[in-house]
Amino acid sequence: MEVPILKQGHYLIASIQSALTDADLSQLREALIERVGRFRARGVIVDVTALDVMDSFAVRTLRDIAHMARLRGSETVIVGIQPEVAFAMVQLGLTLKGVSTALDLEEGLAFLDRQTQLRIERGSARLDRG
């Protein structure tokens, strides 16, 4: 089941609609990393609200997406981890260390706005000095 990826402004939004196999997750990773370049995206949101389980493979893939996107100049935020899913993840020993998360899509967008704004400010500060 392919995950739809929407482009909204400078951001890509991948909204997971149903349970995903390992192959689906890997496919999502490839598609997002390719599109970050194609659409010159500054931010990526992966909405996992519909995921009722996150196991070690899912967590590893999300972490890979965030790290790869950062290497391509884009910030990633994972949104919508459900309370039961968070509970099971912690018991499994799964963390999303180094990966930003937000409660829902709205918070995720606000987070990316702040991040990209910071980057623009830092960029212009450098220009001023130069």
């Binding site: 493979f57 039961e84 993840m89 499994l92």
Partner: protein, 136 residues
């Protein structure tokens, strides 16, 4: 619902099927939605281990009663290469597949009873149980 559900594991879609059936059975048995998620996550880990190490195998799901306790039993069985060192395989971060090494130890933390029986060349059987919390 049948007394025992058998799900053959031979492709990644079977991992999804196994954990969904497990969640359904747990819901049917009256487990809380938090416990249903925990059970589904544990099934996902051990079913993926079958794929990764043995290529194929099966997961069986059933309900048990012990006095007035009710629980779910999950057995994952394969005829794969077996585990050389079960103790180490249960340590966090130990993996021979390049994974996170959290599958077996993580599943053990999620469940109440957990047993691994394995021998090199003899395949692996993981048996795990979760008991329904009283008054939950």
């Amino acid at each position: 619902m049948a007394d025992e559900l058998l799900i053959p594991i031979a492709a990644d879609v079977d991992v999804v099927t196994a954990r969904q059936r497990g969640r359904d059975l747990a819901a049917h048995a009256g487990f809380s939605s938090g416990d249903q998620t925990v059970i589904a996550a544990a099934i996902s880990e051990i079913a993926r281990n079958i794929l990764m190490y043995a290529k194929r195998g099966e997961v069986t799901l059933s309900l048990v009663a012990n006095g007035d306790r009710r629980g779910i039993v999950i057995v994952a069985r394969d005829q794969g290469p077996g585990i050389r060192d079960v103790e180490r395989a249960l340590e966090d971060g130990y993996s021979t597949s390049g994974g996170l090494g959290l599958g077996l130890p993580g599943a053990r933390r999620l469940m109440d009873d957990f047993d691994v029986s394995s021998g090199v060349g003899k395949g692996t059987t993981v048996t795990m149980k979760k008991w329904r919390r009283q008054n939950a």
